[in-house]
Subunit: 201 residues, 2 copies
Amino acid sequence: MAERPGGRTARVRADVLRAAEDALIEKGFAGLDLADVARRAVVGKTTVYRRWKTVPALVADLLADMAEQSLPRTDTGSLADDLRANARLVQRTLTDPRQGPLFRAFLAAALTDSETAAALNRFYAVRVAEWAPCVADAITRGDLPADTAPDEVIRAVSAPLYYRLLTGDPPTLETADTAAAAAIAAARAGAYAVAPKIPQR
Amino acid sequence: MAERPGGRTARVRADVLRAAEDALIEKGFAGLDLADVARRAVVGKTTVYRRWKTVPALVADLLADMAEQSLPRTDTGSLADDLRANARLVQRTLTDPRQGPLFRAFLAAALTDSETAAALNRFYAVRVAEWAPCVADAITRGDLPADTAPDEVIRAVSAPLYYRLLTGDPPTLETADTAAAAAIAAARAGAYAVAPKIPQR
């Protein structure tokens, strides 16, 4: 039977992923259970087991869906404004009443489960690739050294916000703005330069 | 009955904390169980329950003990060398065959348990207070702006290393050296300045 995009299969996936989010927020990764997710989603248990097979595979699909749905970057033409917008988006996500506990569950799972770590890594790779062009544009404009690694600058913006979350101190708007300003200052000083290639003889 | 320091009570604590480490590495926070820890430590179950009461309290005591035992800072007289030594120490800890899994277990627990988050926060406060004087000394020498917040610089060195761990990519020696260099560049540019006090009318 042919399935149209947005048809029954897509609806089942959306319902199951939403239920997986709810269960993750409520019970964490260790408490996640495919039968419970099926019940919450009002979807047949067999469908969930056949399609997702394991809890880590379901969480990986949830992260893949979040990467697909995630917002496009800001493009103001100013590196400081772009990176501040990026930092504030990360800060809002990590302190959001729903997204915050969800990301804490992802991070806790990734620290102990390698399949989830790989899925989370892919999620961040998508987000970094979305935002890296604002650094590349700044390099083109001459605002940053030519050998700056754009990915490293984007990761440097996120790092202090996640570190604050880890040390039990939710990141504030000030943390976000400081993270953006620090990343730019370090990038200007050449701290994120791509390692120079060894010349071939 | 009087107890000498280093006597039976101290030995019991050392044995129980070592057993708690083993159990955390093997089973994670969710799998930690006071009876299992007592069995591993070859200590009476009643002693463990009476003295530590709960799993989060035992983990908090383990972190308190680690803070007490932790190494003094490096003092080379050069900010760049001190912060690189700090970054490399954090990198070695997070990738150590025993300390790495132990810290991943602490972090995963702290993300979902507020008592462990508070205990981990106290552990990092001790480590930050140990290393902050190398930044304060650099300020005194005129190497950094006078209004730099020493604690923020130390936290900025650790953040990228922990972020790498979270995103499933263990921090390397290069990550450590980049983190130290980036923190210094950002500090020199004034990114970690203490917020100016609003003048009183």
